[in-house]
Amino acid sequence: MSQINPQQLELWLAKSALGDQAAFKQLYDATASRLNGIAYRILNSIDSANEVLQEAFIQIWNKAGEYRSDLAEPMTWMASIVRYRAYDRVKFEKRRIEGSQVRADLEDFESLPDGAGQKPMFCEIGQQLEGCLAQLEHTQQHSILMAYYYGFSREEISAHFSTPVNTVKSWLRRGLVRLQQCLEN
């Protein structure tokens, strides 16, 4: 996956905010595959991912003027729009990636180190985030990643782990507090 130049994306976003459709097309060409991949990971449906991508880009076109470079990189901002729309969609559709694929995908999570001393296989993610995730308990770490990556609701995570929803809420709450403390250090 090639890295997309944030300055170039910012420029296209700024031009899009002024109604420049050619710049918007360049922005789309540069980012649509990445963003579609993110939507697909959550929705597990090519049709649904494309629909979410379409709606997200309409939102990006309409909200380009609200992008703030001091708060987020352009790709982070656009990916968040896609993720939130995909989360809404997957909740609406109540469709879920099924058994075998969940297990296969969760192997990625299993490769995350549970503590000090293990060599992380999930090495392409940001070093700080990786280190902080590694400090979390297994269940906290997996709950956070299942929600972020696949749009799992708390109820779905509880079903996956065969544990009460309140336990999952607790995992998420404690995991996020620990993650926050680590990320801010």
Binding site: S33, Q54, K94, L176
Partner: protein, 249 residues
């Protein structure tokens, strides 16, 4: 409001909301409240913490494999950001909503036919209205306008007035075939939206081209388990193919 906002000044509360918002794990009600705080009340402390979490978690998205979108996706986006096309589409439905409440379905279809005459008088373009159905309830009150434009295979639903459904229930859209009179699903309709677009598959587009009418039924969450309408019929309307577009195909 200020009293309610006070607790949102507590950093722990703000961070709890922000982190769970970014993870997508808030309940619907809390998420709606958070959206309101973000967008309507411009709650900058919350927006900053959401931005923090989005940025800190963003390395994870670099792990996701790219997936090229369909060519159709850009075409649909382009059609919707073209200013004059957007302006042409919207007012028509809004007029329906206000002026023709409880019209008989036949009258609705006459209006559609009238609109099609207007379309006929304009130069043909890929964005021209190609199929339309006005779905009405048993009292013939219009509830949904379904339309497609050209051969974009994008089904656009404009929700005028649909009833709420209970927990564990959903509204499902169906198309009935002229050929075999069978009803086939076009998916669920989201609740609490004013409009909804759905990119049709090639097979679904064929169904539209062969459609007799569209129906909406109440089904269990996730849609009818047998792939056929099971629940109460709440809305239906004849699907009209507009001759302006017909000449192009």
């Amino acid at each position: 409001m200020s009293g309610k906002l006070d607790r949102y000044q507590i950093p722990e509360v703000v961070d709890h909301l922000a982190s769970n918002y970014v993870l997508g794990t808030l309940s619907k009600r809390v998420q709606a409240r958070t959206d309101q705080l973000r967008h309507e009340l411009d709650f900058s402390a919350l927006n900053q913490r959401i931005a923090f979490w989005e940025q800190k978690m963003s390395p994870l998205i670099d792990k996701v494999p790219d997936l090229a979108p369909k060519d159709q996706t850009w075409q649909s986006i382009q059609a919707r950001i073209a200013p004059q096309k957007t302006q042409e589409r919207k007012p028509w439905y809004r007029l329906l909503d206000l002026r023709f409440y409880q019209w008989a379905t036949a009258c609705s279809l006459m209006l559609v036919a009238l609109f099609s005459v207007v379309v006929l008088q304009q130069p043909s373009s890929p964005g021209a209205l190609s199929y339309v159905a006005v779905l009405a309830d048993e009292n013939q009150a219009p509830q949904v306008v379904a339309a497609t434009y050209g051969d974009t295979q994008m089904l656009m639903l404009d929700i005028i007035d649909l009833p709420d459904v209970g927990d564990g229930e959903t509204l499902e859209l169906w198309v009935t075939s002229k050929t075999d009179k069978q009803a086939r699903s076009l998916g669920e309709i989201p609740s609490n939206v004013a409009s909804f677009n759905r990119q049709l598959t090639t097979a679904e587009w064929r169904l539209i081209k062969d459609s007799d009418s569209l129906l909406i039924t109440v089904e269990e969450a996730g849609g009818s388990p047998i792939g056929e309408p099971m629940g109460a019929l709440i809305s239906q309307g004849v699907c009209v193919r507009l001759s302006a577009w017909q000449e192009q195909v």
